[in-house]
């Protein structure tokens, strides 16, 4: 792109250090691994059942970093039913992280499959699939999520299904464009000439080469899926109590926001740290794979 003699001095941008040693990315990775470890380990170590409700009147709304009337220490205090906030927050993290990873990953997989199928089949199949994709893209995702989640019975399964059903469209569009691009490459002709069947060429040659943007979209989508899940759960349309998720814990603390703000705010911190780490890792992956996957100002909570 740039002519050789001038490139050394005048091309200003590569001033930063090499991306692979980016401290920000390493910090994000450490945070995410730490969070994943904590959500697995902390609830196992808890002495009390984080779903059980005990002596509500004496135990509720204990402030962070203090002991309750029974002498038990609570790192982040207790909620309105006297349950330890930190343990519940980690238990909620299991659900929120799983929903984020499964929701985003499965949506990307579905989008890849449909996009590849449309590109490969061409003709009427392509036109119908893409019209359907465009129609779904023309409704703000949040509105689509609200309609689906409210009309069907709210719950964990509904949230995951709805996240997948409303998240595949942009990946399908990208994959379709990539596969159409890949089709023109000589190695596809070569594989054909060697006698490979159409489906084999598609799945073994075209799709793997078109996969970059889908992977980036899946990685960047994890944070977004976690945010959307928390938003639905906040509105009471997602994961239902007593099963904790970060969104419904924030909603549960809402009534005490004036007297015991930590109950609503603490779960949000775990959520923000997780989504931040996911996004930074997604950014890094995008820079590495140099894809043009862009989920920029999309719908979010």
């Amino acid at each position: 792109m740039t002519s050789a003699p001038m490139a050394g001095r005048a091309a200003a941008p590569p001033r930063g250090r090499p991306r692979s040693r980016d401290p920000l990315t390493l910090a994000a990775l450490a945070l995410l691994l730490g969070m994943a470890g904590a959500v697995v380990v902390v609830p196992m170590l808890a002495r009390e059942n984080p779903l059980a409700i005990g002596d509500v009147l004496t135990l509720r709304y204990v402030a962070p970093l203090s002991r309750d009337a029974h002498g038990t220490f609570h790192l982040l205090g207790t909620d309105r039913f006297g349950r330890d906030l930190f343990v519940r927050m980690m238990l909620a993290g299991r659900i929120s992280l799983a929903v984020g990873v499964v929701g985003s990953g499965a949506a990307a997989a579905l989008g890849t499959a449909l996009g590849a199928a449309a590109a490969w089949a061409g003709g009427a199949v392509d036109r119908i699939l893409m019209a359907f994709t465009d129609a779904l893209l023309a409704i703000p995702r949040l509105i689509l999520l609200l309609v689906c989640a409210t009309l069907w019975r709210p719950g964990l399964a509904t949230v995951v299904v709805v996240l997948i059903a409303t998240g595949w469209m942009s990946v399908a569009r990208m994959t379709r464009a990539e596969v159409l691009g890949v089709r023109a490459h000589p190695y596809v002709d070569a594989a054909r000439a060697l006698g490979a069947s159409g489906t084999r060429v598609l799945w073994r040659h075209a799709v793997p080469n078109a996969l970059g943007p889908a992977i980036v979209a899946a990685a960047l989508g994890v944070g977004n899926a976690i945010l959307l899940e928390s938003g639905l759960s906040f509105l009471g349309l997602g994961v239902q109590p007593p099963e904790p998720s970060w969104g419904n814990m924030i909603a549960g603390g809402r009534e005490a926001i004036v007297t015991a703000p930590w109950v609503a705010l603490a779960p949000g911190l775990a959520l923000i740290v997780t989504v931040l780490a996911c996004t930074l890792l997604g950014d890094w992956l995008r820079d590495r794979l140099a894809g043009e996957a862009a989920g920029l100002l999309g719908d979010r909570a």
Binding site: M1, T2, P140, I143, R153, V258, A264, A294, D299, A301
Partner: protein
């Protein structure tokens, strides 16, 4: 794409709109739950429920209901709310200005704040200021709006009482009007603006964070281009390079983004409306969905979809005016 004549693009947009509302119709009607059973008292007889179903036209086959609804919409009749009997147009006319005002104010702020931050980051790429701003914008982008809203409510109630905020900093944390105050004209406007500071601020902060992330990467791409190096070599000042060359290159993309993000922003205010108790579109739609108030749900979906499609079309049509590279393609 860009070679298509305007009338074909308008036609395509209308076909898309029809497809969207038909999909929404199917989605809403195929879901379990019967609006009639939600409206009658629990001890109502089956006959009463059946009478209500007949009154709403819900006992007709789905295809007939669809044809009726589509015909009504085409003649400009959006129907009446199942739960209140009020015309849907009046429900929307009351709620839409609130969400639109919220969206427009925060969108303007989003661009005024987000673009300069992104450009600053791109100019200082890889340095401490850029890194700090990257963490800040990514963190704000990671915050759920309802969480920020609750945090601010806590700060202006719990926090204000503990720390003792001065009177001018005691921002109202709920509602759109001062309760009980009978204000008119200029005073009413000032009262609404005062109540809007927190909701608009939250939406603008999140929007600006996302936009700064986008601007940073697109400006950084432009800064690596040959014509920027040429401009610098000719001795153009940094201000001229940014103001004339870089901005002119990224502006079309930003205008498209502006057009595309308005509907999303209006939808995104659902949570802020919920926390601050603002009676906008988000709340109206949320209430309508849970009450199975089909006419209101369908009309708001139609409004949202029309907004998205119109924004897409406008961006498509305006882009050649801003970007000479797209003219006469």
């Amino acid at each position: 794409m860009s070679a298509l004549p305007v009338w074909r693009r308008v036609r395509d947009a209308l076909v898309l709109l029809w497809l969207v509302v038909s999909l929404t119709f199917l989605l809403v009607r195929l879901a379990p739950g019967d609006p009639a059973t939600m409206l009658v008292p629990p001890n109502a007889s089956a006959a009463e429920t059946a009478r209500l179903r007949h009154e709403f036209g819900l006992d007709a086959p789905l295809a007939v209901q669809y044809a009726r609804w589509l015909g009504d919409v085409l003649t400009g009749n959006l129907g009446a709310s199942f739960s209140t009997g009020e015309p849907v147009t009046r429900v929307l006319a009351r709620a839409a200005p609130i969400s639109l005002g919220l969206g427009a104010a925060s969108l303007a702020l989003t661009f005024l704040i987000g673009v300069p931050i992104g450009m600053l980051q791109a100019a200082r790429r890889g340095r401490a200021a850029d890194r700090a701003l990257t963490v800040l914008t990514t963190a704000v982008f990671a915050m759920p709006s309802f969480w920020i809203a609750l945090a601010l409510v806590a700060a202006f109630t719990y926090g204000a009482a503990m720390v003792g905020f001065p009177a001018w900093l005691r921002l109202p944390a709920f509602g759109i009007h001062t309760p009980g105050a009978d204000l008119h004209g200029w005073d009413e406007l000032r009262d609404v603006a005062w109540h809007a500071i927190l909701p608009v601020g939250i939406l603008a902060a999140i929007g600006a964070a996302g936009l700064a992330r986008y601007t940073r990467s697109s400006v950084a791409d432009v800064l690596g281009q040959d014509f920027v190096r040429t401009a610098r070599a000719k001795g153009a000042s940094a201000g001229r390079v940014f103001g004339r060359h870089v901005l002119a290159t990224v502006l079309p993309a930003l205008v498209v983004l502006l057009a595309l993000s308005l509907p999303g922003l209006v939808a995104g205010s659902v949570f802020v409306e919920a926390v601050f108790a603002w009676p906008g579109m988000g709340r109206a739609m949320l209430l309508a969905i849970s009450a199975r108030d089909y006419p209101v749900v369908m009309a708001s979906a139609l409004a949202y979809a029309a907004a998205v499609i119109a924004a897409n079309l406008a961006a498509d049509l305006v882009l050649p005016l801003l970007d000479p590279r797209r003219r006469g393609a």
